[in-house]
Symmetry: C2
Subunit: 256 residues, 2 copies
């Protein structure tokens, strides 16, 4: 029986932090046509959630273009819960985007009511985080506050601290993604997630160890307190993701 979160976050008909580990598929596309055709393909795989990584989109710096794409994306995926994410280069994102244009894009997207969840990095300035939080509160979108480290795996206390910090900053969901240098680091991430879940964290969380060595956490993380895992539908958005069909089949054996 997997560990559940004390607080649940419900988006459309999906309960994040409930009995099931949810599967999210990333949408990464340069053009609107690609985005929509990918969205159709991924919808057919019936994921629990989709995440649009808008930093992979060619028109990301044109807010009108991006909002129109978001509208068409929503019409295509119908009622699948959608995470809206715009990471910049230093956060592991695909583009360098100026702070102001990024903040305007994210708040406009969240304000449109089209995404169900928005994910931003905790390393953003306080006023940036507060502006997104306020807009999300207004439109009813849920907030993921995330920490990414593409270089290494900090120690257990640091990881627990980041999850706790997300909760204290008012996130609905806390996220930590770190890079292992060996299998010991993979155990550190799983152990930190388990401790946070059991001891301090009341909100749902998303944690993973990235890269090939961390692939295991994308499958087993749900047993250690993780509530959403990212899998490959058509393309991956981070190293170590597993194809959704393999993930689902393995989950039938491990989540009993």
């Amino acid at each position: 029986m997997r560990l559940q979160s004390e607080k649940k976050v419900t988006v459309r008909d999906k309960v994040i932090g409930g009995p099931d580990l949810l599967i999210c598929l990333p949408l990464v596309a340069e053009t609107l046509a690609d985005l929509l055709s990918q969205a159709k393909e991924l919808k057919a795989l019936a994921p629990d959630l989709l995440e649009w990584r808008i930093d992979g989109y060619g028109g990301v710096e044109d807010i009108d273009d991006s909002l129109e794409a978001l509208r068409q994306l929503r019409a295509t995926i119908e009622d699948i819960p959608l995470i809206f994410t715009c990471r910049i280069d230093r956060e592991g994102g695909m583009k360098k985007i100026g702070r102001e244009i990024r903040l305007r894009l994210i708040t406009a997207a969240v304000d449109s009511g089209l995404p169900d969840i928005v994910d931003i990095e905790m390393r953003n300035e306080t006023d940036f985080i507060e502006a997104v939080k306020k807009t999300a509160a207004g439109s009813g979108a849920k907030l993921i506050l995330s920490y990414h480290n593409f270089d290494e795996t900090p120690d257990e206390a640091f990881i627990c601290g980041k999850l706790q910090q997300a909760q204290e900053l008012g996130a609905d969901i806390a996220k930590v993604a770190v890079m292992p240098k060996g299998y010991e680091d993979v155990l550190t991430l799983l152990s930190a997630a388990l401790k946070a879940r059991v001891k301090s964290l009341k909100i749902p969380m998303v944690t993973m160890s990235m890269g090939a060595e961390g692939g295991l956490t994308r499958l087993a993380g749900g047993l250690f307190g993780t509530d959403i895992t990212f899998a490959i539908g058509k393309t991956s958005s981070a190293p170590g993701q597993i194809p959704i069909a393999i993930l689902r089949q393995a989950m039938t054996a491990l989540y009993v």
Copy 2:
């Protein structure tokens, strides 16, 4: 890339401790007819190894009957490497079998040259272990010395110690199977296996956390130094085993 053992053990064409995590399927059958029909079915699944748990066999206390069954089993499975194991009740086995008859059965089986590997518990008396070791040395069979704990998961140092003890007692392969009380114990087993593999153990090993919670170690253990995993072909021989088809598919995603 999974961790390999410094020493390899080759039985027929299979390298234990090499680049691949090997899959072993257990044979558990009350009658000879069942044993042979099960053996045929399992052979079709092309496992790397088979293990005959003779303690599940009705004729286990009749040495002639058992040896004849072993001969027919070998003829059926042809050149699939075979582990011969007779556990008694206090070792998690299926029957209470007297010490003398058990020792005679095991040494006769090993002496026949039909099994490639024999597995006995380290808790057996020194003279028992020495007698099996000597017979195995004579017939060329490899020796697994194992530690099982169906009640709990001892700490990391204890588990590493048991693996080390098997090596010092002259085992070709060390085995530890323990029962978790929660997911923390699952991490303890994986961490102990990894430490043993990296720091002290030169021979191949088989480690697992049992039960539903430990299922993960049957899939991922190979990344942490385990060289053989037990899966379900037709029947399981211990709690938490995963069906071979699911295990294989998940391995394609994790062992990269």
